[in-house]
Symmetry: C2
Subunit: 395 residues, 2 copies
C-alpha cells in the first residue's frame, strides 16, 4: 500500500513535470538533456545522449545539401555534441545519424514532415526570421475544411484556408491568394513547412501586405487529402501520375471547383483584380498553366523555382507546348494583368529551365518581373518568395 | 553540360517519385524500405535499415508500458525486423532504440508528439479502429482560431474548434462539447493524439451522436498556445505552475472567456441543456471543478481517468476541498443535471483516486454513471471514452 502510494506520487510528479516542461521551448526537458541549446550570441549546440553509439553526425538545412553530414564529438558522459555558429536565423531542420541510421533529435519534440522525410526543427531567432515568429497584433485563423470537386469527380477534397486578422471583427470582403505546393507536397505543406499563416500575419499586421485570404488546396489530382488523413487507402482516383505536370486536371479543378467554393463560403472580393495565384516547383508549373488556361481569372501570377522545358520531361510535348504557349501568352497580354513574377535560386536544379523561360519571354517581349537569389530548391527560399510576392499584390 | 542535364533529369525523377510516393500509405517508400508493412491477416512487420547498428529494439503502445522494449532481429542485408501479430486495431505509436538511442522509424513519415516525446504512428485497420478512419459521408471542419481572455489577462489564446458536417449547409444552431486535455497537453492534443474530429465525424455521420460543436482550448493558464507556435518565449503569464490542478484559473476562463466567445462566433444553442464538458486527467479534474464552480452552465459532465484525493497532491488542501465539495455537489443536485459520467482503467495509476471518488459520491448519494475498463492512463482509452460520452449527450 505504501509502495503503491509512492508510485502514484511519483506519477503525479511526472504529470506535473510534463505540464511544466511544455511551458517554453527552453524548458521542455527539465531534468533531461536539452537540445538544441540556443545561446544569446546565436550559437546553437546540438546534443544527443548516446553512450553506446560508435558514430553520431548531424545534417541540417544550413548545409548545401542534406546528403552532407558533420561529425559530432563524444564527451565523457556519453553525450555527443556539436556547436554551430553563424547559422542564418531561420526555420531550421536537422536530423542525426546514429551508427548510420537517420534519427530525429529525441530531446526536441518539434518534428515536421517534408514529403516522405521527417526532421527535428526549431526557429533560430533573429532579424531574418522575424516574419516566422508569432506576430504582434491579432492572429489570423486557419480553417481546415472539405469542398466538393465535381471536376475531379470527388465528393470531398481537403484544403486549408487562412483568414486574415480582423476577418471576424468586420464585414469587409477580401482578395484571395491561391497558394500552391510542390511535387510530393499536399494541402499541409505551406503551413507546416512554409509557415505561411505566420508570414501573412506578420506582413498584414505590419502594413506590408494587404489583408487577404490565402487558400491552400491539394494540388495532386489523384488525392482527396494528404495521405495520413486517409491511411491505407489507394489513391482516390487514377490519373497519369507518372506525368503529374503534364496532367492539367488540378488546374481545371482550381478554376472550376476551388474558386467558386471559396467565393461562396467566405466574404471574398471577386474578379481578376482580387485574385492571385502562386506556387513552388510543381505549383509554379500549375501557376504558369493558370496564366495560359484561365487568363481572365487572375491579375497576379507568381512562379517560384520552376521554368519551361525545351526538351520534354513530365510527358510534355515541347513542340505542342510552345505552339500553344505563345498564343496563350498573347491572349493574356490582351486581357491584361498586373504582375507576372518569377523567382528562382541560382543553385536550383531547375535554374536552367528558369533561364530558358526568361529568355523565351524576352523573345516574345512579354512583361514580367524576375527575382534571382542564391540558394537551391528549398523552403527557406519559398518562404522568402511568398513574403516578397504577397507584398506586391492587391495594391 | 550533358552531366548537368543528367543531374537535372535525375532530380526530376526524384521529384516525380516524391510525388507518387505520397499517394497512399502503402506506397510512400517506393524504392526504399517500407515500414511498417501491414498484411491482410493484421500482422505488422516493422523494419529498419541499420547495417552498422549493434542492437535495435522497438517499443510501442501495444505494450503494457513504454519502458519495455522488444528486440528486433538483424537479417543478412542489414535490415532489422520484427513481425507482431494480434495487435489490437488502433492508432498505434512506436519508436525504435538503436544502440540505446530512441529514434523514430525513418521509413514512416507520420510522426506525432505526446507532451515532450515523439512517436512514429499508423492506424491498424479493423473493427475497433473504424471510428478513427476518415468517415463515410461529409467531413466536419476544424478551425484554428484565437480568442481574447480577459480572465487570464491575455489578448489572445489559441484554440481548435470542430464544426460538424452540415454546419455550412444549414442555418441550424448546435450544442457544444468543451473537450479538455491533460497535464502537459495543449489545444492540439485532442485532434493530434485523440483524433477527436475523426471520431466525431464517424459518430455523427452514423447517427450515433447528435451533431455538435467541439471546442478544444488550451487548459494551461500560463500559456497562450502550444509552445511551438511561440518558440523561445517565456510562459505568457506567471501562475502557480507547481500546482496546476489546484490553480483554478483555467476553469474561470473557460466559463467567462471561452464560452461567451464561442456563443458569439458560432451558431450555438445556449443554456445548460446544450453544454457538456469532459476531459482526461488534469482535464478530468477541471471538469469536476466546472461542476463545483459553474453548476448552472452544464447538463453533462465527463470525468476521464481522474478521481479525488484524500491526501493533498497538487497543492490541494483535502479538508478545505471536501468541506466545499459536498456543498457544491448538493447545489449541483438542486440545480439539476442530466449526466455525471466517470470512466477509468483499472491499471491507471490514478485508479485508486477514482475508487475513492466513487465511494465518496456513493456516500453522498450523488447520482453518477461509471465506466470501468481495462487499461491505464493512455490515449486508446481516452479515444474510447470520448466516443462513449459523445453518444450520451444532447439527447
Amino acid at each position: 500500500m505504501k509502495t503503491k502510494k509512492l508510485f502514484t506520487e511519483l506519477c503525479l510528479i511526472a504529470l506535473i513535470t510534463g505540464f511544466m516542461a511544455t511551458t517554453a521551448f527552453s524548458q521542455f526537458q527539465q531534468d533531461r538533456l536539452t537540445s538544441p541549446v540556443i545561446e544569446d550570441d546565436g550559437s546553437v549546440t546540438f546534443r544527443l545522449m548516446a553512450p553506446n553509439a560508435d558514430s553520431v553526425s548531424i545534417t541540417g538545412t544550413w548545409m548545401e545539401s542534406l546528403r552532407y553530414t558533420e561529425e559530432m564529438t563524444k564527451k565523457n558522459d556519453g553525450i555527443w555534441e556539436i556547436t554551430l555558429r553563424d547559422l542564418k536565423p531561420d526555420y531550421i531542420w536537422y536530423s542525426y545519424w546514429v551508427n548510420g541510421v537517420r534519427t530525429m533529435d529525441p530531446h526536441n519534440p518539434w518534428v515536421i514532415r517534408d514529403v516522405v522525410n521527417t526532421f527535428s526543427t526549431f526557429i533560430l531567432p533573429g532579424e531574418e526570421s522575424r516574419n516566422l515568429m508569432l506576430s504582434d497584433g491579432n492572429q489570423g485563423s486557419l480553417h481546415e475544411i472539405w469542398y466538393p470537386s465535381p471536376t475531379l469527380e470527388m465528393d470531398q477534397r481537403r484544403m486549408k484556408v487562412y483568414l486574415p486578422p480582423g476577418y471576424f471583427e468586420t464585414d469587409e470582403s477580401y482578395p484571395v491568394l491561391y497558394l500552391l505546393h510542390g511535387g510530393g507536397g499536399d494541402e499541409e505543406a505551406w503551413t507546416e513547412l512554409g509557415l505561411a499563416n505566420r508570414i501573412m500575419d506578420n506582413l498584414i499586421n505590419s502594413g506590408k501586405a494587404e489583408p487577404m485570404i490565402v487558400v491552400m488546396a491539394n494540388g495532386n489530382p489523384n488525392q482527396t487529402s494528404t495521405w495520413h488523413v486517409n491511411p491505407g487507402h489507394e489513391p482516390a482516383r487514377e490519373t497519369d501520375a507518372a506525368n503529374p505536370m503534364s496532367n492539367i486536371e488540378f488546374e481545371h479543378s482550381l478554376a472550376q471547383d476551388v474558386i467558386p467554393f471559396i467565393e461562396s463560403r467566405y466574404r471574398v472580393k471577386t474578379g481578376k483584380a482580387n485574385r492571385a495565384v502562386t506556387g513552388l516547383s510543381m505549383g509554379g508549373w500549375q501557376t504558369q498553366n493558370m496564366a495560359l488556361l484561365y487568363p481572365e481569372m487572375f491579375d497576379y501570377f507568381g512562379v517560384m523555382s520552376m521554368g519551361m522545358f525545351e526538351d520534354g520531361p513530365f510527358g510534355i510535348d515541347p513542340e505542342e507546348y510552345f505552339a500553344n504557349a505563345e498564343e496563350s501568352l498573347r491572349n493574356l497580354e490582351e486581357i491584361g494583368y498586373q504582375l507576372y513574377w518569377i523567382a528562382c535560386g541560382t543553385e536550383d536544379f531547375l535554374f536552367e529551365s528558369v533561364e530558358f523561360m526568361t529568355e523565351y519571354l524576352d523573345g516574345l517581349g512579354f512583361d514580367y518581373k524576375y527575382l534571382e537569389t542564391g540558394g537551391g530548391h528549398t523552403w527557406d527560399l519559398w518562404r522568402l518568395y511568398l513574403s516578397e510576392f504577397a507584398q506586391k499584390i492587391f495594391k
